[in-house]
């Protein structure tokens, strides 16, 4: 149960917490403007949801086809049942080519698998090249957002970090200056790396392609200069047809940042001449989630981050308060699917307002998912200290007479709720009304 403890830490700096909240809301507003600019937006979401549902149902077939078509075009496809196997495959490829330095563009899967520390231990230097990821890598911390990895940091913090690591001018916190400094530093890394690792936004079954979307061009530059390109993908990234990308590329960037499309949308179906392209398809618990029909749809996620930007809890607690690689509503659901017993606090890191579900481009019913996990948690793992109050509440809410009597007498104790440890913290309990709504209604209308 540590989300709220970490959130409390985050909220200590009120000004920073407020700034974080507003920065993400700004992204949410850009998303809204982009969505509203298309009258077919809801149709696109509907179609995207259908494609993902269909694909998950027939995943074995589409993965098989993908492997066949990609192999035919010269891609080497590997299958990894878990993080360990994934990391071993990457290491094997890199050591075969005697790689000492590898550039990596954004991949939440490699975060999930702990690839960076694994390779570091074996003497291979991994350079994250997405600017936000590079910043958090230099700070030796994980990304706090899947699309905006350094959204928890202000320019002064990044400026000071660069002064120390990249020897930039003292006190120059201008984003243009800092970005240029990172560009220069990373250019050199691109030119001296022997391999490039990327994530995968979509893998197309019928064409045997993987698709990588970036704004910075870091995946393009990295893969085109290196001898070996290793693309790491969760097995759920498959779509059946190339034509389906028409739907997803329209949804992805608009949902993520409000852009109509990312700067680069690159399709790889074959390696460049004389080079190697490897794709590693990873299970790591996903086939277990697919078996659970109630929760299967959380694998439809296309990692746009819209649910984070809109979430009132995420915005006010920061990505690092979530004890899972992926934060926010979708991260909480995925964490619960993997380890309900230890991650259940994340299903409570939600107001259940439903904003996440209404912005999700593939229409995952995120708040229903979180509610369902709460129920499962209480049934299976909740301690008596939680179970008993729930039982009492259930009894009271079910019996009208008890509820009425208690709400009369209970008004006296109402202000004491604020004193409940943890739960009451930071809560403002409104003054109890003298008369209930029902009573006022009766007086006003029924007597006449």
């Amino acid at each position: 149960m540590n989300h709220r403890i970490k959130a409390r830490e985050f909220l200590k700096d009120k000004e920073h917490a407020n700034w974080h909240d507003k920065a993400l809301w700004f992204v949410r507003e850009k998303r809204d403007a982009a969505a509203k600019s298309l009258k077919e937006w809801e149709d696109l979401r509907e179609a995207a949801q259908k494609i993902k549902e269909h694909t998950l149902k027939h995943l074995g077939y589409y993965l098989d086809e993908f492997e066949k078509n990609a192999s035919e075009k010269g891609i080497k496809v590997h299958f990894a049942k878990d993080a360990k196997e994934h990391n071993e495959i990457v290491y094997k490829i890199l050591s075969k080519h005697k790689v000492k330095r590898v550039v990596k563009s954004k991949s939440m899967l490699t975060e999930e698998c702990g690839l960076n520390p694994y390779l570091k231990e074996r003497g291979i230097e991994v350079i994250d090249t997405d600017l936000g990821e590079r910043i958090v890598q230099l700070r030796e911390e994980p990304p706090s957002h899947i699309v905006l990895p350094a959204i928890h940091l202000k320019r002064e913090q990044i400026g000071k970090l660069f002064e120390e690591k990249l020897h930039t001018e003292k006190g120059n916190f201008d984003p243009v200056y800092l970005t240029n400094a990172a560009r220069r530093d990373l250019r050199e890394k691109f030119l001296t790396s022997q391999a490039a690792i990327t994530g995968v936004n979509f893998a197309v079954s019928e064409s045997g392609s993987i698709v990588v979307c970036t704004n910075e061009g870091n995946a393009d530059l990295g893969t085109s200069l290196a001898k070996v390109h290793i693309a790491c993908m969760g097995m759920e990234k498959i779509v059946p047809k190339l034509a389906h990308l028409g739907i997803f590329t329209r949804l992805l960037a608009r949902s993520a940042t409000g852009q109509a499309i990312t700067t680069y949308t690159t399709h790889f179906s074959s390696p460049p001449e004389g080079k190697e392209l490897h794709v590693i398809v990873v299970d790591n618990g996903r086939s277990e989630i697919i078996k659970n029909k109630k929760h299967e749809k959380i694998l439809s996620c296309i990692r746009c981050g819209a649910c984070m930007n809109t979430c009132p809890i995420y915005r006010r607690s920061g990505g690092h308060s979530y004890s899972y690689t992926i934060p926010g509503p979708i991260g909480s659901a995925l964490a619960n699917a993997r380890d309900l017993k230890n991650q259940a606090d994340l299903s409570f890191a939600s107001t259940l307002c439903g904003s996440c579900s209404s912005v999700c481009p593939v229409k995952i019913d995120l708040h229903h998912q979180l509610l369902a996990y709460r129920k499962e948690y209480v049934k299976k793992f909740a301690p008596l200290s939680k179970k008993i109050p729930y039982k009492i509440a259930f009894f009271i809410l079910k019996n009208e007479f008890v509820l009425k009597t208690l709400s009369k007498t209970g008004n006296l104790f109402y202000p004491l709720l604020e004193k409940i440890p943890l739960w009451g913290e930071g809560r403002k309990i409104p003054k109890p009304a003298k008369k209930s709504f029902k009573e006022i209604y009766r007086e006003k209308y029924e007597q006449k």
């Binding site: 149709d43 494609i51 027939h58 399709h267």
Partner: protein, 189 residues
């Protein structure tokens, strides 16, 4: 782990056809105008010219001091043919790259590039300034129309580029020129 044991827990049966509901897609009255507007939003610029041979003069006007200009096509101003270079890392000082697009997309300012004859994929992202030449009569409305034009069987390597490379990773402040080209100009011929 081998493929068959990886797939054994998943449904491998041939699926039924996936029928998606049909709906109306955005259509632009003036696709050229929409493309130019959306490319501008993405940080790039569209220039309409009537003949391909005007391009060299236009480039000279835009970048009067550029010396290292790369293209696999025969332009007088191009000093480097990337196809004659072995290691793409040698392209690191390229100022301008001139490439050709298959078609453009009105809704987002992207151009589809599928140059099978180009040997080095680095050309698109290593140059300081990217020039894309494409046919002004080949602009599609949306990405759905775009993908209808791409053959999954022959697709090897291809990309959509919309504007210059950019990032907003520092406090959501947009900065043009992250790792790739610092400017993208599309000539509509």
């Amino acid at each position: 782990m081998n493929k068959s044991s990886f797939l054994k827990n998943l449904n491998g049966k041939t699926p039924p056809d996936l029928n998606l509901p049909s709906f109306k897609r955005s259509v632009f009255e003036d696709k050229t105008k929409a493309f130019a507007k959306n490319l501008k939003k993405a940080g790039g610029e569209a220039i309409i010219i009537s003949q391909e041979n005007e391009i060299e003069n236009e480039i000279k006007k835009l970048f009067p001091n550029a010396k290292k200009i790369a293209s696999i096509y025969e332009y007088e101003i191009a000093s480097v043919n990337p196809n004659l270079i072995k290691d793409p890392k040698e392209l690191k000082d390229i100022e301008i790259a001139i490439v050709k697009g298959e078609f453009a997309v009105a809704e987002n300012g992207a151009v589809f590039i599928n140059e099978e004859k180009n040997r080095h994929r680095a050309v698109y992202s290593i140059c300081k300034h990217l020039i894309i030449i494409t046919d002004k009569n080949k602009i599609v409305n949306t990405m759905e129309e775009a993908y209808e034009k791409i053959d999954p069987k022959t697709l090897k390597y291809a990309l959509f580029i919309s504007g210059p490379s950019k990032t907003a990773d520092i406090e959501q402040t947009l900065v043009i020129g992250a790792h790739g080209a610092k400017s993208t100009t599309v000539f509509l011929v």
